[in-house]
Symmetry: C2
Subunit: 121 residues, 2 copies
């Protein structure tokens, strides 16, 4: 078997800090990633791909140039390809992200929050 059963909640407990996406599983060339989010990210866009956010716990705001989207537990939102956005959370948010492998978290913005996707140990 390529990968065994992974529990989302147990996996989140292994992530020490915000803005460190970890790969939970892959589906073909797509990755399901877990990330803790707290504070303000950078404005960026992904010009090659949509990006899915699914909130598990907490309240996540995704700022868009034409208004905010607010996500609570079990809410799903897809940022369309090319759309500028900035995730922001006052308290800690645990979120699932889905996008193609190789998608850089800071998209076209780069900068110090750019992070390699980590593997769970």
């Amino acid at each position: 078997m390529a990968e065994n059963v992974r529990n989302v909640l147990d996996a989140f407990d292994k992530i020490p800090a915000p803005w460190q996406p970890h790969r939970l599983v892959s589906v073909n060339d797509y990755e399901v990633k877990l990330a803790k989010i707290q504070g303000e990210f950078v404005w960026h866009a992904h010009h090659e791909t949509d990006e899915l956010f699914m909130v598990i716990d907490g309240e996540l705001t995704i700022e868009l140039r034409d208004g905010d989207v607010v996500l609570g537990p079990m809410d799903v939102f897809v940022v369309p390809k090319g759309v500028e956005h900035r995730p922001r959370a006052e308290g800690e948010v645990r979120a699932i992200l889905i996008e193609p492998a190789g998608t850089v978290n800071t998209g076209d913005a780069g900068g110090e929050l750019t992070a390699e996707v980590r593997e769970f140990s």
Copy 2:
């Protein structure tokens, strides 16, 4: 905005019966689908794609030719491309599936449980 915020739990409440996959959102050419599962499905394989199962509620058994995989709430399992499997659940399970658009639920088996992916109204 291509699609607005969708709540997974609210969406499940709109699915009337098992074995009726509904598309929640798309991420490029992949679909995030919701399905209720109860009873025994058919043995099948998807020769072109992996298939992700994420259980929200209930206990889902995925029979494989070399043993069963049992998933509880927030457990994720990816059936690798080409691997024969049969989902089975005694009580009702609510599960998220992720795979490319156009993936047929019964894979190479066909039969009466073959279902078009439905749209939420």
